[in-house]
């Protein structure tokens, strides 16, 4: 039932792509000021979470924790699924998706995007090999090595994602060296949140109960990641607030900017951080269902964060003439307007649908469900 809903969503996404091909990006909300929109929010969320979910594998294979080792194959599958979903959205949002072969054959080595094409492809390959070493008995001696390669590579991958923004000198929201580490820590939180939800769903559908010890460890880990991610976001904004030239931008994002401060405070800080932390740590709470709700909140908070970061960051006008009031026919000096249109939202959800389908089919066909190891053995 859910699978057919997901398939329908994917179809709707593909239809949107067809419409965007037919009419051009004019049918999206994107324009010459807000050049990246909702598709990029979905794509970057999925790519970042795809890297973070592998933490579950790394804790198992690199740091030798058996509870996580049992979950490593599922984490690997989720990573592949989200990477595929995210990259599909990113690719189909291109102005000329038909030229993807050009992107695959022409590399400008100074371009972070070109690096990312290599980082993403290699990540895909590395995770496939890692899954193979885990699921094929003969290959198991290599599993630790493959796990280590994946561990290193995903740091490079998320650094690459952060660097897309941190190498931009033009816009005030970006161009900061804190962004790559911030994205890495954020990826831990989002990836684990996705893992929690999928794990709860699998256990629920199979009528299984999650081992109490494992449940407790994993929910505490989620709490730690959420706090760590929030720490980086706070430092990022504090640094900006300290620089006089950045104060106007921060006022826009945190106070005056309409939808952006609302999404930042209500969506990211409260829904994405404070409430999940209460659900996880409040005495008497922190049960499986609480953690599942907390994880859903972390994910929604993540989308709110990316909307503010990507779209809010572009909506604030470029500082071409610092110290001057500016006006023109091209939106200089004014806040960029953006309202996402149905096709681009469907394209984003289409990517989520692809990730869901890959996960659902993978779990059905292959042995990805965690095999519980008795508590005593841990």
């Amino acid at each position: 039932m859910l699978t057919s809903v997901a398939a329908l969503i994917v179809l709707a996404g593909l239809y949107s792509v067809h419409m965007m091909e037919e009419h051009g990006h004019i049918i999206t909300g994107m324009n010459n000021q807000i050049v990246w929109g909702i598709p990029h929010v979905f794509a970057i969320f999925m790519i970042v979470a795809a890297s973070g979910v592998l933490n579950v594998s790394s804790i198992g294979s690199v740091f030798n924790k058996p509870a996580y080792k049992a979950r490593a194959p599922l984490a690997g599958l989720l990573s592949l699924a989200m990477l595929a979903g995210g990259l599909t959205v990113l690719m189909l949002d291109l102005g000329r998706p038909d030229r993807i072969i050009v992107a695959a054959t022409n590399y400008n080595l100074t371009s972070v995007f070109a690096w990312n094409v290599l980082l993403y492809s290699a990540m895909f390959a590395a995770v496939v090999v890692y899954l193979w070493t885990m699921m094929e008995a003969r290959m198991q001696p290599w599993s630790k090595h493959a796990g280590f390669v994946v561990f290193i590579w995903r740091f490079a991958l998320t650094t690459g994602t952060g660097v897309i923004f941190s190498f931009l000198v033009a816009r005030q929201a970006y161009g900061s060296a804190i962004l790559p580490p911030m994205f890495i820590v954020i990826s831990f939180a989002w990836g684990l949140a996705v893992f929690h939800i999928v794990q709860s769903a699998i256990y629920q559908w199979n009528g299984k109960m999650l081992d109490e010890y494992v449940q407790k460890r994993m929910k505490n880990l989620l709490g730690v990641f959420v706090v760590a991610a929030l720490y980086f976001v706070v430092v990022y904004h504090l640094t900006n607030l300290y620089f006089a030239r950045q104060v106007e931008f921060e006022r826009f994002i945190l106070a005056d900017g309409g939808i952006y401060p609302l999404l930042f405070w209500a969506g990211y800080v409260v829904l994405g951080n404070l409430l999940p932390l209460l659900l996880i740590y409040l005495p008497g709470w922190g049960k499986t269902q609480h953690v599942a709700v907390a994880s859903a909140m972390v994910i929604l908070g993540g989308f709110a964060f990316l909307y503010v970061f990507i779209i809010g960051g572009q909506a604030f006008p470029l500082s071409i003439f610092p110290g001057f009031e500016v006006k023109s026919s091209f939106g200089d000096g004014v806040i960029g307007l953006y309202s996402p249109s149905l096709p681009e939202v469907l394209l984003g959800f289409g990517g989520v649908g692809i990730a869901f389908l890959i996960t659902a089919v993978g779990i059905r066909v292959l042995n990805f469900v965690p095999r519980e190891i008795p508590k005593k053995a841990l």
Partner: protein
Amino acid sequence: MSEINVQRRQFLKMSMGVAAVSIAPGIFLFDMAHGKADANKVRWGMLIETANCAEGCNDCVTACNTENGLSDGVSSTDSQWIRKIEIKDISTGRETSLPMMCQHCEHPPCVDVCPTGASFKRADGIVLVDKHLCIGCRYCMMACPYKARSFVHEPLQNQNPDVPRGRGTVESCTMCVHRIDQGQQPACAVACPNKSILFGNLNDPDSEIATRIRTVASAQVRADLGLNPGVRYQGL
């Protein structure tokens, strides 16, 4: 000398001849695409005299739109290769009007970030987009500190054959490269009624533009970024 050796020499001579003949047109075409052969001595640039640039005058914009087949539209999804900006110094209240377009940087961020190499800089300093390589990712638009680039949001009609454009690709001021390569001036410079846009070779010490920038104070926009734009402004 043995017969085999003679044959080998002949073979080598012939191969070199064949190689030269086959590479030559490629080199010629490469030169065509990357500026003229002596282009490394040329750096095209502009000096804009803001004192003469009249507020409300839009002649450079209109000329650009006509020359390059742009629609004249000013919605947020329309291409604008050149625009008039009115600026007012917040602390002194002094107002200035000026045209803003691609600044044809020596170190263009758009070229650095372009994944496919579609954004490129010719040997004569003109920054262009190869419409066959551009995949429409818009990363260059994120990277440009001058907001100089536009994305073609809709299918195009009635294009100027000299200035090919493409839906789903990014574009910007070409400094009227098709005119420059025929020895003409960019359309905006020709159209300005006050002769506020001076076009020329920055690297030729005897050119008018080089003489002027040597003798009058001029500035680059966002010079702090260190991109060394080819467009300079007088009276900013």
